[in-house]
Symmetry: C2
Subunit: 455 residues, 2 copies
């Protein structure tokens, strides 16, 4: 009988705790949806500042805006971490045309963007085009067929993938390694089909790299529509491509990660890091990538403070700089934490856009999977249903090496529209839906609230 | 030992069946995403025809287009069911202004749409405005405060609701019954705050009704932005409103439900009906409401046929006419089925927009809930996770009375953006995302495939 009573009391305790959690999470959502700051803050970041590539004046404006915004919310600590970041600029000339070999063929303009980090063409570059459907096709080609030509890598993202990030992952190496592989065979430049799912006119830029022992050649992405047009032209004869880019690298510059904290009431020395990246590519407005992510996390911290919730552990929002072309923010943050003797106990990243939330993925030990799966009954009424193993994020990734065993969580919104906008001129404020953005902030605030409570 | 073997064989059988199902569902998604017709068909319906209010020439064009499209797919049966539908037209004059009572106050224009079914104003109608925050506030008001005035019903949809349809449901009666309740107290007209979630300039129309013993008064919806402006003006003094509408009813006209079938290979006499509504409001292009729904179902049937799948039962797609202002299509379809001695064994409706799919709701006996919950493991890899009790839809609703116990299924896409577009000028083709639409068609095709197999 005593045992039964004990079990009953334990049961009541948990029901009570869960009921309290549910009430609090309802308050979090009310704050986000009825009195939220997320949409207006994203508007300021996108419209008053715009795209924010590392090393640009807009990136510095974004640092200043973030620092002032965090101070305006009177968080316990607001600080900047000085870091060095790369500085690459697109320049002012970025053009390409192609011409078929038939009589009277006209120049046809291509919509393109240099890939981030590419060298310029040093004037007009002209060569015959050779198309490959994959990186391995290029790698298996003979030097004599490639030498002196412009390589066109035309691999479409696989629209049949339900998770669009898988389709992206399968094409990622084309953007990153295309220039090196083409140059190894003597190509003069490389042009890739944009890593985007729709067939449209927006080219998608992104990072690429060179290799020390391989000559650098220019690299650019053309729109999916133009990739189809160029491929069609190539199917009926030889095609020449004319390319002019004056993008270039400058020396590294000073920049900052910007951060704010709510101090832990019981374990202030134990830190949960949540964040996204403040930098963006230099086209569009970096609205989904990753304006939404930093605004999500800022809004989550604002809501927890506004509701008077005292976290057990310290919760720190970090706006990372330079995720897009170097990840210096993420790398130097992890080093800085360790050098300062900080205890980093968990981290969460939002870097998959401001779409309707679906759940959270875990990169870390299984015990944390058990933990977050216990959140599901509380969060399911908010349309959150994914609590599974997954990926954390680029910015928080370096914490893994410095803090072995740390759980990294990735916020998972619906991914279907992400590659309409990713790294493209279409990634503007208007592409973000107000409710979807607010629900993301509320989902993250709720998850962090539960994580802090149960860790 | 024999028992163990038996259990093992049964287990193998089910594993085998599930593996076959999984392969087929993968093929359904490949067809929808790689070779789909949904997006182009929706473009034709929205751009070549446009909005399709019952009784309009566009509604007839849509009937003809649908019939020809179904015939082009060479389904087993393509037919039209003749029905009578209401015919209301917005007319050519639809304007409103308000004026504050201060000296030198100027007329301020309101963005508005007459509610469907409203009478016109018979010239310019002018009166003082009185605001109510809810229908019950109006019902509790004294006649002397309302008589001779224009009633302004200003209840915002509750943005804190996670399921936006719940927020809509809580405001629905304002649009439907506002005119009757205002007229009972002697009001000259009623103007409502649009049933839309964003604060923007798009008014949202929709159906309303009159009551035989209560004088008819004009009814219109103003945009949420204008509702806020009008409310603000009222908070600082008297406001007069000027309203002119020349909308009117005509006599009922002939129209059609349009349908196509794949005949059942084993039980051809048992019919699974799937559909949406072909008519739309006369603003925007009826893209989400309900172009997406009819295209979903047409595409689902096309995919099943294209893959050579022979359904066990007959699967019939119905494009219902007149869901928006009378539901004559739904009512007369149910009567027609019964009169023809048809066996209707299940029905599914898509009428919640072309957004990313989340699952299916059931309006019907519990045994069918058990059935569809067994679909979850097979459909979960496709991001479908809702399999629960819910609502079927307006068009298939009348089948319930004629076929007691019939399970009605409602397709559930993400609802967050729906009330940005619902019944508004913003509901255009461009508001529908290609992948989200295609995934909806694939989800429905997969669900219907499993339903047919397991029923």
């Amino acid at each position: 009988m005593k045992y039964t009573l004990f079990v009953f009391l334990i049961y009541c305790f948990f029901v009570q705790v869960n009921a309290q959690d549910s009430t609090l999470i309802r308050r979090i959502y009310d704050e986000a949806l009825l009195r939220g700051h997320a949409y207006e803050n994203l508007r300021q970041l996108c419209k008053d500042i715009g795209p924010r590539l590392s090393g640009s004046s807009q990136a510095q404006m974004a640092v200043d805006w973030s620092y002032e915004k965090m101070q305006s919310y009177a968080f316990d600590v607001v600080q900047k971490q000085a870091i060095k970041v790369p500085h690459w600029e697109r320049g002012t000339t970025e053009s390409a045309w192609f011409k078929e070999s038939t009589n009277n063929a006209k120049l046809q303009k291509l919509q393109l963007l240099a890939l981030g980090g590419s060298i310029g063409t040093n004037g007009l570059l002209e060569a015959e085009v050779i198309e490959f459907k994959s990186l391995s096709d290029l790698q298996n080609a003979k030097r004599q067929s490639v030498e002196g030509k412009i390589v066109f890598l035309n691999k479409p993202m696989d629209a049949a993938q339900i998770q669009t990030f898988k389709a992206y992952g399968a094409c990622y190496a084309i953007r990153g390694n295309g220039a090196v592989e083409a140059s190894k065979l003597g190509a003069k430049a490389v042009v890739i089909r944009s890593l985007g799912l729709p067939i449209d006119k927006h080219p998608h830029t992104g990072s690429m790299h060179y290799q020390n022992d391989v000559p650098k050649i220019p690299a650019a992405a053309i729109s999916t529509q133009d990739a189809d047009a160029l491929s069609k032209a190539l199917s009926s004869g030889k095609v020449r491509l004319f390319l002019e880019l004056d993008c270039r690298d400058f020396t590294d510059v000073d920049s900052y990660n910007v951060m704010a904290e709510l101090k832990g009431s019981i374990y202030p020395e134990q830190i949960i890091t949540i964040g996204g990246h403040l930098d963006s590519w230099d086209t569009g407005e970096g609205a989904h990538d990753d304006g939404a992510g930093v605004i999500h996390c800022l809004e989550a911290l604002r809501i927890l403070k506004e509701l008077g919730l005292k976290p057990t552990h310290t919760i720190r929002v970090v706006f990372f700089m330079n995720e897009e072309n170097g990840n210096q923010g993420g790398k130097q943050y992890a080093e800085w934490c360790l050098a300062n003797g900080e205890q980093q106990i968990a981290a969460l990243e939002s870097d998959r856009g401001g779409f309707a939330p679906r759940g959270f993925g875990l990169d870390g030990p299984d015990q944390f999977l058990d933990l977050i799966q216990r959140f599901e009954p509380t969060l399911r009424p908010y349309d959150l249903h994914i609590f599974e193993k997954g990926y954390g994020g680029v910015d928080i990734g370096p914490l893994k090496e410095k803090y072995p065993g740390i759980p990294l969580f990735g916020f998972i919104p619906d991914s279907q529209r992400y590659f309409d906008f990713h790294h493209a001129p279409s990634d503007v404020f208007e592409a973000v839906n107000k409710r979807e953005l607010e629900l993301g902030a509320a989902a993250i605030a709720s998850f962090v609230y539960l994580l802090d409570l149960k860790l």
